[in-house]
Amino acid sequence: MKQTLRLTMVAGVALGALVAGAASAADYNEAPGLAAMVADGKLPPVAERLPVNPVVLEPINEIGKYGGTWRSALKGAGDVGWIRRTVAYDPLVAFSIGWDAVVPNVAESFEANEEGTVFTFKLREGHKWSDGTPFTAHDIVFAYDYMTSDEYFESVPAHIKNVASAEAVDDLTVRLTLPEPNGLFLQRMASVDGMQPLVYQREYCSQFHIDHNPDADAQAKAAGLTGWSEALYEACDLDNWHDANRPTLFAWQPTAPYDGLSPQVTFERNPYYFKVDPEGNQLPYLDGLSMTQTASTEDIVLKALNGEIDFMNRHIASLSNKPLFFDGQEAGGFYLYETVESLMNTGTVQLNQNSENPILNELFNQKDFRVALSHAINRQELIDVLFVGQGEPWQAGPRPESRWYHERLAKQYTEYDVEKANALLDGIGLTEKDGDGFRLDKEGNRIAFRLDVTSDLKPYFPDLAELVATYWSEVGIDVDVRTNERSFVYETIQANKHDVHLWVGDGGLGDALLDPRYYLPMNIESLYALRWAKSFYDPSSDDAQEPPAGVKRQHELYAQLQSSADPENQDALMAEILDIAADEFRVIGISLPPNGYGIARNNIGNVPNLQPQAWVYPTPGPMGTAQLYIKD
């Protein structure tokens, strides 16, 4: 099953890319509303609005029809992620729907030099912003100039940080130069942050820029902002949708902005959108989107059950809600589609091996201790209780569908064996116990540590933590589980004050190369060894700590991988990193998450099944949401 799945996905992508390349000018069709506007002379004809060489999007199922609104919901004022996933996934180069290739998108073509330091993107001739003005290389350069300047309001996204310079070779060609080779640059450009350089229309956004408008600072301060930079950021940045006037390249443009106040955020069709279907119909099919802003998840659940949500999985598609939606399908006129989980684990138990507590630090750094605790967990029972038996015991290793699947890493030490665990613990000298049966450390104190857990990411986390604590208490280890509010947990881990951290397992599918945080300590989220990770991503930091040999080797290998442009070489390097990860066994996993799901109304066409679910790959964005349509 899993093998087939992977093959079909690859095939689908190959076809899509092929068709995209073979686009040809033809008689284009457009939405009736736009046609009327053309007839009234309010819009130029469709052929003039499209680029000379539009992207031809091969539909997942069939050619759609025009009209309709896609209804979904936003949770609170900070849910810009859903807009990014639905409206705003149109980077220069994009992930294929199967997440195994990077294909041209806004860029007609791209090329890299051999070292992987200079990347040249060719834009589409005649590509226009939603206000009808031409989209050119200068817009991208404007964005880079602002983002790499010291004035940029937020901090610089990682993929931009690495760009030394951006230049417009001509109106349609932009060249990005990197300070050092980066083998993952195209993937980063295809990721969820890839639209960052494409949202700053120079003409519109320069009015907020001090270089172009001397009054910009005063105007910003008059509006209560800290300065022109914030004003520019607020108006134009990818995360901000308050400004309905900003021209976009996306399939829809906002009409009621997302400012945290409008009860409903709406979008309408961008008449200049650059994609067509194989029959030459300009996309998108849907007239628009409407997203109800709500503070309550239950409100969204109810709307979904009542058939008021057309296509969505965010917030509501939890494991515990599945029976509810399953039963509600008929009444609500929707069905459940499946998504491929990109997470490789339901829970990664990260013993802090850079702990400030010397006793714990010493214990956690002993592999036998970690192995013993792993054997002490009854994973099958956990799966039965928490996931209704779905999934299998799994360590922190890539998913079986992944190109980098590593069997030993994934499956070692997963069997439930209390005897073995006790033997291992005895073996490292933890033989003394106190009156309650808990083991004592070398100073004669009970081995006890805290696990602060938040239920905000996964509602089952507190339960999972409790159960793990129960199992560990049976081998004489005392864990004090606390359910806490997320900002507290976040503060603790940032300050490296945690004993243990529980999170999910990122890096299960295509994001393994970009975010292998659980395979080697390499970023701020590698919370089992934050100081070692710092020695990799921020060596100058005071907190950075020299890692042991194995981790050091992993760091070397990952550095090579990052600067390699050759996928085969990358795979080989990755395999070696994972080998070491399996030897070192630093993160304890629980189980492989079952596939996720989402709900789609029966009359929504071209809904993808088995699409990967991730953030870097902002599901469902890479499917090309412009092809969704409402059936009769």
Binding site: V385, V388, R450, E485, F488
Partner: protein, 374 residues
Amino acid sequence: MTATTVDDRIVAAGTETQWQLIWGRFRRHRLAVFSGIVLILLYLSAALAEFIAPQDPHAFNARFTFAPPQSINLLDRNDEGRLIFRPHVNGYAVEVDPVALRRTFVTDPEEKIPLRLFGKSEPYRLMGFIPMQHKLITVEDSRTPLFLLGADRLGRDVLSRLIHGTRISLSVGLIGVIMSLVIGLVVGGLSGYYGGLFDLIVQRVIEFLRSLPTIPLWMGLAAALPRDWDALAIYFAVTIILSLIGWTELARVVRGRFLALKTEDYVTAARIDGASDLRIVMRHMVPAFTSHIIAAASLAVPGMILAETALSFLGLGLQAPIISWGVLLQEAQNIRAVATAPWLLWPGAAVIVAVLTMNFLGDGMRDAADPYAQ
């Protein structure tokens, strides 16, 4: 004229104490009496939670997640087919539905699990110190399911959790009110007895505190609790937070009573007897408003119970693994629970019953608080 004239009929035996008189009045308020009985039962079950709860409230069971409630059948047919008294519940046939991601439970009429009163159980300590080996209701084989109010998402017994939650929830209210009472008595008493500038300041402070919107205040305070406190400390801190506002109402009542009593003739009489301030307060005033204070306090308890659930709703306050009604309701505050496992709402019913009965009891006590009023 002699001492025994027309007037000198003694209308009653006249030896009833104020509490006997209060009880006599209180009994007329039938709703309050009924509420009192319900509350006594509630507090009893809180005290005897370990004995009454059929199961360990923390024990999970992978096979019975979201198992629906079993009903108790009192009668059974014996081997000869005659109906006999043999209380039992039926077992379940459990199926896992991997698509819908749930277990489906069908009552199995063949599997009969007999119930026993005061049967043997695992040894435990009642109220933490009395060693016991019997429980109110047991099943013969401890592995067979007994979920009289159903099971939660981890297959834990809702009834047992509810009973154990009673302990925390009812005591949060009680301890909170006691704390409010101490503050309220001292502040209200001083302010009412001495009056003047102190009274003025206290009145303004109370007015100020009452103008604060409670939920944000609780939220801020609850979020500020040090995280490395253990569960018990958090529990006490939460009650303190709740009583932070609660005392104002009690202080108001105490002050009011003081002001009213100060002008009573018998208090003046005590002053003319030469009694000291302390004696006047303790001997003459305090007994006169004890009943009012108890009534006011009993009316403050339900507010605390509700506040505890509200804090839990907002994700602040008490957290698992502590079991309180608020914590239990937190698990029920989603459509999934309402739609597919409505038995998780039983703690809500418990809250309603407790709050209603406490209100009625308080009303009854207040009506009876002054048995000498005509």
